[in-house]
């Protein structure tokens, strides 16, 4: 991190060390969690040998299994819906010249990002109670779909902006109607953005805790809710194992998302 020679004119003493501390601060807690999930004893402070026993315990735990199943179903379905909706909206706003008030629509799509999660959570709970909606994990899926739309929308929109509109014009020139152009040109070229958005929507749903906690009815426990229950009652090594797995999924998803977003 330090270069003594070839110093930039903007270089300020000490800033490199603060940056180093900053990254340690970001990653040290995560690293500790991962390391101690492999610890041979219950201790989360003293290393006493490598072991996979906590993973084995976690994977054979029925409650964790059913929570994981719920989490995956919810994440998959809300990713599907939010990505489809976000793609449609991005193409309409990016390519249809007949639509008015585009900034208003764009702002509305980003609204879930601007409101604190706890507000969204209680508002959604209140609404579901008011209209008497009780579809079990269906409720959670609806709430997640809404919350995931902006996360799916942003990478898709970015991709579409970088896409030369004259490619679509060229396709029209070469005897493709609107639908064929969408199918053969726009969607294939947009695909990396769509995958990138879908990955983000997936981890946002998978990791969500507050909204799920407020909206969830008895019997629709997700992994974060299960973890929260364990953490509240005290630190157990299984939590470290489950958390590490969840962490791994998120990191893989965000790396894939980045990779797709940069794809030519």
């Amino acid at each position: 991190m330090i270069r003594s020679s070839d110093r930039d004119i903007r270089w300020l003493p000490g800033f490199n060390w603060i940056t180093l501390c900053f990254f340690l601060f970001l990653y040290l807690p995560l690293i500790i969690l991962v390391i101690f999930s492999f610890n041979a004893t219950r201790s989360a402070t003293v290393w006493e040998g490598f072991s996979l026993q906590w993973y084995a315990k976690a994977f054979s735990n029925d409650d964790i299994q059913s929570a994981a199943k719920n989490s995956l179903i919810i994440a998959a379905v809300s990713t599907l819906f939010s990505t489809v909706f976000a793609t449609m909206a991005a193409i309409a706003l990016g390519r249809n010249r007949e639509i008015k008030h585009k900034t208003a629509f764009g702002g509305l799509l980003l609204l879930p990002l601007m409101i604190p999660e706890i507000v969204t959570a209680v508002a959604t709970l209140t609404f579901f109670t008011a209209i008497n909606l009780s579809w079990g994990i269906g409720n959670i899926i609806i709430a997640h779909t809404v919350f995931c739309i902006p996360f799916a929308y942003l990478p898709i929109q970015a991709r579409l902006r970088g896409l030369d509109a004259s490619l679509e014009t060229a396709a029209r020139d070469l005897y493709s109607d609107r639908k064929t152009t969408l199918r053969l040109i726009t969607l294939p070229l947009l695909a990396p953005g769509i995958f990138s958005g879908a990955m983000l929507a997936f981890i946002i749903s998978l990791d969500d805790f507050i909204i799920t906690m407020m909206v969830a009815e008895a019997g629709s426990t997700t992994l974060p809710i299960y973890i929260y229950g364990l953490v509240r009652t005290g630190v157990t090594p299984e939590v470290n194992a489950v958390s590490t797995v969840l962490l791994g999924i998120s990191v893989i998803a965000v790396l894939m998302s980045q990779w797709f977003a940069k794809k030519q």
């Binding site: 300020l12 409101i115 706890i118 507000v119 990791d207 805790f209």
Partner: protein, 297 residues
């Protein structure tokens, strides 16, 4: 009529997403607004009787003799929330600005790697990230073990379940929101301005004060707002690192909709949070506009 249908056809694409957000986000917020003026139901929910009780409750309590008295308990929570959120903003700035500054002057490939490293934790589970700090901060945690092991202290220092722990957790959670806008502002900054300042007899630090900081201020303001908004309504950090003892607005709201079953009061608190958020967003918009009109050409 067919003309109208023809025009509506263009909007089919934006319709599903708009529908979801209007029905499941805007409508619920409206309901919260309405509920804040109603009377609590006996077992949660509301009775449809108009009342401003929820709002007066914020500042006044009825005592045993049914007299209305000024009461500071909720005000204390509100001020604690604002105080802790402010500390989180300052902490993020102290850590985030040098990091953003350092990253902005790196070669492009390294810059992108470092930015990715900042965003990765942001995308991981908030609950788990906060939980990690319990492992570090608790009495038998990493820091205390280290301190005792080095003989610096005999008794473990209480760090968990303090306001400091909450602020630390908030900094940890939201510091990327501070770094990214500052980085964006610094990356745009013309290096020749720094050279001009140095050429005109300013040293590194006076240049930072008189050139870099003013030019980065839109990014700093944006970062401060982006950290402040979620910190104010945070639930996980106060709950896990504050142990639920040091109540903050987020936990208080959550409490009203679960254990306390006072939905109108919870709604009124939500409206308080929303008004602070709106003010912040307004400031943000003003900041953006000034930024566009000013430093960028």
């Amino acid at each position: 009529m067919s003309d109208l249908l023809e025009r509506l056809r263009h909007y089919i694409g934006v319709l599903p997403a708009t529908f979801m957000i209007v029905v499941f986000m805007l409508a619920p917020l409206t309901i919260i607004f309405v509920y804040s003026f109603l009377t609590p139901g006996d077992y949660g929910g509301v009775k449809f009787e108009f009342s401003t009780e929820a709002y007066t409750q914020l500042l006044f309590q009825k005592n045993l003799f049914d007299e209305v008295e000024f009461d500071t308990s909720y005000l204390t929570i509100a001020f604690r929330s604002i105080w802790v959120a402010t500390v989180a903003v300052l902490g993020s700035l102290a850590l985030g600005f040098p990091a953003a500054y350092y990253i902005a002057q790196q070669p492009e490939s390294r810059r992108n790697t470092l930015l990715l490293l900042i965003t990765i934790p942001f995308w991981t589970n908030l609950l788990i990230r906060t939980y990690c700090w319990i492992l570090v901060l608790r009495d038998t945690g990493l820091i205390n073990n280290l301190l005792i092991g080095l003989g610096l202290t005999d008794e473990p220092i209480t760090m968990l379940y303090t306001e400091g722990a909450i602020a630390l957790g908030l900094v940890y959670t939201y510091v990327p929101f501070m770094v990214l806008p500052i980085y964006a502002a610094l990356e745009r900054l013309d290096k020749r301005l720094i050279e001009a300042s140095r050429d005109l007899y300013a040293n590194r630090w006076t240049t930072l004060r008189h050139v870099t900081l003013p030019l980065a201020s839109p990014g700093i303001v944006a970062g401060a707002i982006l950290v402040f908004i979620p910190a104010l309504g945070a639930f996980i950090a106060p709950d896990l690192l504050g142990g639920g003892k040091k109540l903050m607005l987020g936990s208080l709201v959550q409490l009203q909709f679960s254990a306390a079953r006072d939905w109108p009061f919870g709604s009124a608190l939500t409206m308080v949070i929303m008004s602070v958020v709106l003010i912040c967003l307004l400031l943000f918009a003003v900041n953006q506009r000034r930024n566009e009109g000013g430093f960028q050409h």
